[in-house]
């Protein structure tokens, strides 16, 4: 489904963010990418989303070179990828419901679809009772759950979670990981970046380890080794 083919990324100031990256991810996999800060995890994700172009090599999404896509097609690509971030990135003056609905509006879904789907995803992340609260009134864990709900509401093919538990306590961290596992079980591919050893050991799924812009390990049911 995703294939990185000899990808390198060099920034104008000569810093080499990625060197000769080669790997692929199949449908319905759950992959964790680990590494120190600056290892290149976020750059990898940016390349996948076509936010940056590789200096060398190609990034394929379902056999299509992501960087050959026309701008309109890039936006379509992004609708198939749900993103979750460490800092949640919710809109502060919209309620929980509106934040999720917004993702559907922006993707051009009808009012009926929105009215049907939003309550469903809210139930999935167990936040029905907080639908009309503003993000400012929610805890970190609750905010991240809203972010996940927003990420899955358009039924994407992949969820990318970039350090989703970075700002959360252990209990909330556990809950978020469980939600991500549940999403993966339903059939969505999940890519998770983290440097939380606990999550990795808990998951027991594939782990790609990066350092200095290179992939140094790729374990099918990995343990956290750095």
């Amino acid at each position: 489904m995703i294939y990185f083919d000899k990808v390198s990324k060099k920034y104008p100031n000569d810093s080499l963010a990625l060197q000769d990256i080669n790997f692929s991810i199949a449908h319905n996999e759950f992959v964790s990418i680990v590494g120190h800060s600056g290892a290149g995890k976020t750059t990898l994700l940016k390349l996948l989303l076509a936010e940056e172009r590789p200096t060398e090599g190609s990034v394929f999404f379902e056999s299509v070179n992501v960087h050959d896509l026309h701008r309109n097609d890039v936006t379509k690509l992004r609708r198939r990828i749900g993103m979750v971030f460490q800092d949640f990135r919710l809109l502060p003056d919209k309620t929980v419901y509106e934040n999720i609905a917004f993702a559907m509006e922006a993707a051009g879904r009808s009012d009926d679809e929105i009215a049907f789907d939003v309550p469903h995803v809210l139930e999935l992340v167990d936040l029905n009772h907080k639908a009309w609260e503003f993000p400012g009134h929610l805890s970190g864990g609750e905010k991240q759950r809203v972010a996940i709900a927003r990420a899955i509401v358009n039924q994407p093919d992949i969820i990318i979670a970039d350090e989703p538990t970075g700002n959360l306590d252990p209990v909330n961290t556990y809950e978020i990981v469980q939600i991500l596992k549940k999403i993966n079980d339903i059939g969505t591919t999940v890519i998770l970046t983290t440097h939380n050893k606990g999550i990795i050991d808990l998951l027991g799924k594939r782990v790609i380890t990066m350092e200095g812009g290179k992939i140094i390990r790729d374990d099918a049911s990995g343990k956290y080794v750095l």
């Binding site: 990135r89 919710l90 922006a106 993707a107």
Partner: protein, 299 residues
């Protein structure tokens, strides 16, 4: 569309500067239209009052004068020729100076009628007066003995005034266009900046929109619509402002300039004027928004 209106309502204060400057621009444009109307009307009025007067010597024979009159009337450029006999001329003169005792007395002293007859020639188009005057000066009916019966052709003075007025109007128009152009550019700049500011203020929302894969139109649309809303509001403001102004001005200018009732012109052509400034306003807004979005909104 809906979200365009909303977002510009919410950013009310910031929008104010843009609305104000566009209103001023539109206001100026309408003022220009009005000034044009007034000046053109004055010029037209003036042109009708202009004629060529041919003054004859006192000993000219009426038959010769009348013959000249009919010759002139036959000219294609001539609209009409009026004949004022010596007696009529003196009566007019006395009437004009009826309060001027000294002049009347001087007239009595002379005894005889010092004034000659005259012909008032009205041309179909003021530009033809020069031609007519020249013709008259060259084609003089001669008395027996070869004396020129035409004393004076009074055209030069009026021509001067017409020329000066025409130049003045051209000058005013030129100034007006330049000024309006400057204002249009200013409006474009300020609206551009305002939209840029709003883009900055809503950058979080924009980032999320891009994240969830919103189309270009979805992201840009509200800003362009917002620009057009500025134009719309400004046009409305300008029209509302003009209503009392034309009422007030009409009182002052009708007498002075004569013949142009601004207020009735305004009401009569209300929809045309409104339509013009609406289009101009909305185009201004949309265009500068478009530029701002292109430069500052990376989609």
């Amino acid at each position: 569309m809906h979200s365009g209106f909303l977002s510009f309502w919410r950013n009310g204060f910031v929008s104010l500067s843009s609305i104000l400057v566009v209103t001023v621009t539109l206001f100026t444009i309408v003022s220009l239209i009005f000034t044009n109307v007034i000046l053109e009307s004055v010029l037209a009025d003036f042109k009708t009052k202009v004629d060529v007067n041919v003054y004859f010597i006192t000993t000219a024979q009426e038959s010769d004068i009348l013959q000249m009159k009919s010759t002139l009337e036959k000219q294609p450029e001539v609209a009409s020729v009026g004949y004022v006999s010596r007696e009529q001329a003196i009566a007019e003169f006395k009437d004009k100076h009826k309060d001027d005792y000294l002049t009347l007395q001087a007239l009595n002293e002379i005894g005889d009628n010092p004034l000659g007859a005259r012909l008032n020639v009205v041309a179909k188009d003021p530009s033809q007066y020069e031609g007519i005057a020249k013709k008259i000066e060259s084609q003089n009916t001669l008395l027996s003995g070869g004396v020129n019966i035409v004393d004076k052709v009074n055209f030069r003075q009026n021509k001067d005034i017409i020329d000066r007025l025409t130049k003045f109007i051209a000058g005013v128009k030129q100034f007006g266009y330049t000024f309006a152009l400057i204002l249009v550019c200013t409006s474009l700049l300020i609206t551009f900046n305002t939209i840029r500011l709003v883009i900055y203020m809503t950058r979080e929302e924009i980032a999320v929109m891009r994240l969830v894969g919103a189309s270009s139109m979805y992201v840009r649309g509200p800003f362009i619509v917002g620009g057009m809303v500025y134009g719309l509001v400004s046009a409305l403001l300008a029209m509302i402002l003009f209503y009392p102004i034309t009422l007030w001005l009409t009182g002052k200018t009708t007498e002075f300039f004569g013949g142009v009732n601004l207020y009735s012109y305004y009401m009569h052509n209300f929809f045309q004027i409104f339509f013009i400034i609406l289009i101009v306003g909305m185009a201004l807004g949309a265009f500068s928004s478009f530029l701002a979005v292109r430069k500052y909104l990376k989609v």
